[in-house]
């Protein structure tokens, strides 16, 4: 029976979820010592949800709300402490709750996709706890009833639990055992059990009744909503809680889910199921599953493409700013959920389950540049220095900026896995469902600048592929820790493993180079600032203008703003003083004169080129076209 499961991704996902939930205590044990810091009430609440989820007929809505309560409580802690002081237990608690919530959503989704699978789960798991029976001895009674029912020739317990067996089980739940004697139990408990069982039964019947085109449509929309919710739950754990140290685990779940989602949904009509020869004693041989599997293998590619990638009906559960995120995303507020119309990106959506397509025929991002500043003091270009040459360059007392024109020629991101193609990027982000943090506003020092977390497809359609009044910039995000499938399209240049001489005081040594992604429309601006690291800025898509002032330059610094030290950012705006942008604040002639006296070097970075920015150099970066760069920091 077991071997059959391996090739059905949905069943595999459910099996994984089942074993996760049933093994939750051992799973939790690894986390327990750290979680202690959150206090017993929250930990008890978390473990309670896992325990209830292992029951046959859990109240998913209440469990989800309780998990949201935990997410909200831990999310509030992220803001109660300074970032560096946040005890690690809160990130872990957030992540644990998010993973449990993910599984609740998976069971709901799977129930809609293949009801048989979940009904089977209910039947198999149905135990004395579900009837709130107070002694394990009565477990046998439940087993007996179940076994009796499974022996009946027509018994397809998964199909219809509403008949005699249901009745018998309910009868069971109405008595309790006190001192070896069965007594009638309190009306409250028995009615609670009955209600829960009846609710499941109602849903079964409701599902069987859903066959009209309208209901099918509703069902698909609901499935899509659940899918987006699942992705959102895990992505928020990665983005907000840093994955709580469970990156690999979460990546594994997303991969399983993506596979399962690529199969067409079971349309769930009973006649098809009953027309199959049913050997009900072996419940695993679910006819509907066999059908799905066959279908998925034999369906023509065109149909498959359509079914496998339902348009993200409403992926726009945009979450504004960091605050209103409110932990689970679905909690409060008109601000928290954007009302933007769903964005239709499916025309660009490629088939992700098939062999790698030839991306060259797909359209690229527009190379349009609304404005191109002149380069007046060009940075020298060389092809690709050897490690020793570069090391000696670094070791000089004042290493100069350099452009390396062929440092990264072999990157898949520049060729076979082209980041210049929206369709490729969508294929790597679960059809654009994956969430990314985006900075809204021209530059982080401007009024009204904010941060949002939104689905990748929405980011593309709102800010990149169509003109938008406000700028959205995926900036300084450790995208590759979140999306390992994009990480494999690039390699860390060997040059990052050199050891530079001058590390600024107080900056800890990085064990590994730090990777950040920078992806935005034309006109994004990173204001003049310095970083405490050496930097290789690799241009992958489009062009960027970069201007550099040496560390000793007399650049006027900003002070503390809203409690944040902005001293690494210059007080003037290069674009405004050069007359490229309109002024937003006041600026004196004196300031302009001073600024014009400062010496700098500049360049326009082309795709495939790498700019070396020595530590401490002031840099101003301006996207000219749609632009995607990767920066590598090291020290």
């Amino acid at each position: 029976m077991e071997k059959e499961e391996t090739d059905d991704p949905l069943r595999k996902l459910i099996d994984h979820g089942n074993s996760f939930i049933s093994r939750y205590y051992s799973h939790y044990e690894e986390s327990a010592p750290i979680l202690e810091g959150c206090g017993e009430p929250l930990v008890e609440l978390l473990v309670r949800q896992a325990r209830l989820m292992s029951m046959a007929t859990p109240d998913h809505d209440l469990i989800k709300r309780r998990l949201d309560d935990i997410l909200s409580a831990s999310y509030n802690k992220f803001y109660a402490y300074l970032y560096k002081d946040l005890p690690p237990c809160w990130r872990l608690l957030y992540t644990e709750a998010a993973i449990l919530k993910f599984w609740v959503l998976v069971f709901e989704w799977a129930r809609s996709r293949q009801p048989e699978l979940i009904r089977k789960r209910v039947w198999d798991k149905m135990e004395w706890e579900d009837f709130e029976l107070n002694t394990p001895a009565r477990r046998e009674e439940v087993h007996e009833i179940k076994a009796r029912f499974e022996k009946q020739p027509k018994g397809t317990p998964s199909r219809n639990l509403g008949s005699a067996v249901w009745h018998q089980l309910m009868q069971l739940s109405m008595r309790t055992e006190v001192g070896g004697v069965h007594v009638r139990r309190s009306r409250e408990v028995s009615s609670r059990v009955r209600e829960r069982l009846q609710e499941w039964q109602r849903r079964n019947e409701q599902e069987d009744g859903q066959q009209g085109p309208e209901q099918q449509q509703q069902k698909r929309e609901r499935e899509e909503e659940l899918l987006n919710d699942m992705v959102k739950t895990l992505d928020l754990a990665l983005i907000l809680a840093g994955g709580g140290g469970k990156h690999d685990e979460i990546h594994g779940y997303v991969a399983l889910l993506e596979k399962a989602a690529s199969l067409p949904s079971n349309d769930n009509s009973p006649d098809k199921i009953s027309s199959k020869p049913s050997e009900s004693e072996t419940p695993r041989q679910d006819p509907s599953l066999g059908r799905t599997r066959t279908t998925s293998l034999t369906q023509p590619p065109t149909k498959r493409a359509r079914l496998s990638l339902p348009p993200p009906t409403n992926p726009s559960s945009t979450i504004d700013g960091w605050l209103p995120l409110n932990a689970s995303g679905e909690l409060v507020g008109p601000v928290a959920i954007s009302d933007e119309p769903p964005v239709n990106t499916q025309q660009q959506t490629p088939i992700i389950t098939q062999k790698p397509p030839n991306w060259s025929s797909h359209p690229s991002f527009s190379p349009y540049e609304p404005f191109t500043p002149p380069v007046t003091s060009p940075i020298p270009r060389l092809p690709s220095p050897s490690l020793t040459t570069f090391q000696s360059h670094l070791s000089s007392p004042t290493p100069q900026p350099l452009i390396l024109t062929s440092l990264v020629p072999s990157w898949p991101a520049l060729a076979a896995h082209p980041w210049s193609k929206p369709s490729y990027l969508l294929s790597r982000t679960f059809s654009g469902r994956r969430l990314i943090p985006v900075e809204i506003g021209r530059s982080y020092v401007d009024e009204g600048w904010s941060q949002k977390i939104l689905p990748f497809s929405e980011f593309l359609s709102t800010y990149i592929t169509s003109p938008s009044e406000s700028k959205g910039y995926l900036a300084q995000h450790q995208l590759f820790a979140q999306l390992p499938q994009l990480r494999s399209d690039i390699t860390i240049p060997d040059l990052c493993y050199t050891s530079p001489a001058n590390r600024p005081d107080g900056t800890p040594e990085l064990e590994e180079p730090m990777l950040n992604a920078w992806f935005g429309p034309p006109g994004t601006i990173t204001p003049l600032h310095t970083d405490p690291y050496h930097n290789l800025l690799v241009q992958v898509v489009g062009r960027k203008y970069v201007r550099l002032y040496p560390p000793g330059a007399d650049v006027k610094r900003r002070g503390e703003e809203a409690g944040v030290d902005m001293g690494n950012t210059a007080a003037f705006d290069v674009g405004v003083l050069e007359g490229w942008d309109e002024a937003t604040g006041e600026g004196g002639d004196e300031e302009e004169k001073e600024f014009k006296r400062l010496e700098y070097v500049d360049c326009i970075l082309e795709p495939g080129e790498t700019l070396y920015i020595p530590v401490g150099w002031w840099h101003y970066v301006r996207g000219l076209s749609v632009s995607f760069s990767v920066s590598f920091w090291w020290n």
Binding site: G39, E40, P41, L42, E44, L45, R48, L52, D59, L62, I63, R65, R66, D68, D69, A73, N76, K77, Y79, A80, Y81, D85, G321, W322, L323, P324, N326, L331, V332, G333, P334, V335, A336
Partner: protein, 284 residues
């Protein structure tokens, strides 16, 4: 550790007193912190979404809502809670046995900082980085920047201060029954978009003359009691903390909160807010 002192018995002992006070509550009940009926045992209690009378006693003095449990005090035993509901964390139990004086006055902030009453000779309250440090044998108080009440309004005497556990919203009540509110605009933006970042007087409804009797601030909701006995509130209702039912998730305007306590023209003694729940005590 027993908090529950069986005070219900003494209630029965005074049968000729018909006058009772009622505790109404609504909101988060994840740890049964609103279930004062100890015979009820539910493995996963639901939240309460409308103000519901949960407890009656001849004399309810004040409420201390903690994130996972609730203490109800009566004047009979002023420094020992008469009723406890919910799950009391071990550290709190330890504090109550080791330092009962501290326990009955301590406050714990979201970032673990604990404030306890000061010694009569010391004008400032003692502050500790966390309960764990307070309970350790070598505990040493530390000092944090304190709010100077004169900053709120130089002319008014502040009679009550209430803050969200995170400190992102603070409310001050003055002797003249004016209410001042202020907070962190971006941290409160979902539920209080126009929160001022320095103390400003607020007005309930259209009547600018309405005097304020009491105020209580939760994690992301505020309760206000006016001197004419109305309760107003705003903020998050996703756990039912404003008693506005299951459908209303949030109100961003001051909203009159109604309940059974309005009907019989009873007098409302005060309001209290937990992180995600609310309490109203009504006296005859």
């Amino acid at each position: 550790m027993v908090f529950y002192t069986g005070q219900q018995l003494s209630y029965i002992k005074v049968p000729n007193i018909i006058i009772t006070m009622s505790l109404y509550a609504t909101g988060l009940n994840a740890w049964s912190q609103l279930d004062f009926d100890t015979t009820k045992k539910d493995q996963q209690p639901d939240d309460i979404f409308t103000f519901t009378c949960l407890l009656e006693d001849k004399d309810i003095d004040y409420i201390r809502p903690f994130p996972s449990y609730t203490l109800v005090y009566t004047t009979t035993t002023p420094f020992s809670p008469t009723y406890t509901a919910g799950l009391v964390p071990k550290l709190h139990q330890q504090l109550s046995t080791s330092y009962p004086d501290h326990y009955h006055h301590f406050a714990e902030a979201s970032n673990d900082i604990v404030v306890v009453p000061t010694h009569p000779t010391n004008p400032h309250p003692l502050q500790y980085p966390s309960l764990t440090t307070l309970l350790s044998p070598s505990s040493q108080p530390i000092s944090y920047p304190a709010l100077h009440l004169s900053q709120i309004s130089p002319y008014a005497t502040v009679t009550k201060l209430s803050s969200s556990p995170s400190g992102y919203l603070v409310a001050a009540l003055t002797a003249g029954h004016d209410l001042y509110l202020w907070g962190h605009p971006s941290r409160c933006s979902t539920w209080y978009p126009d929160i001022p970042d320095s103390p400003e007087p607020v007005v309930m409804g259209d009547d600018s003359e309405k005097d304020i009797k009491d105020v209580a601030v939760g994690q992301s909701h505020v309760l206000v009691l006016t001197t004419d006995g109305e309760i107003w509130g705003r903020g998050d209702n996703s756990s039912g903390q404003l008693g506005l039912g299951r459908e209303t998730k949030l109100v961003t305007e001051w909203t009159r909160l109604k309940g059974e306590f309005d009907h019989d023209k009873k007098k409302i003694k005060g309001v209290w807010a937990g992180e995600r729940n609310s309490f109203v005590v009504v006296q005859p």
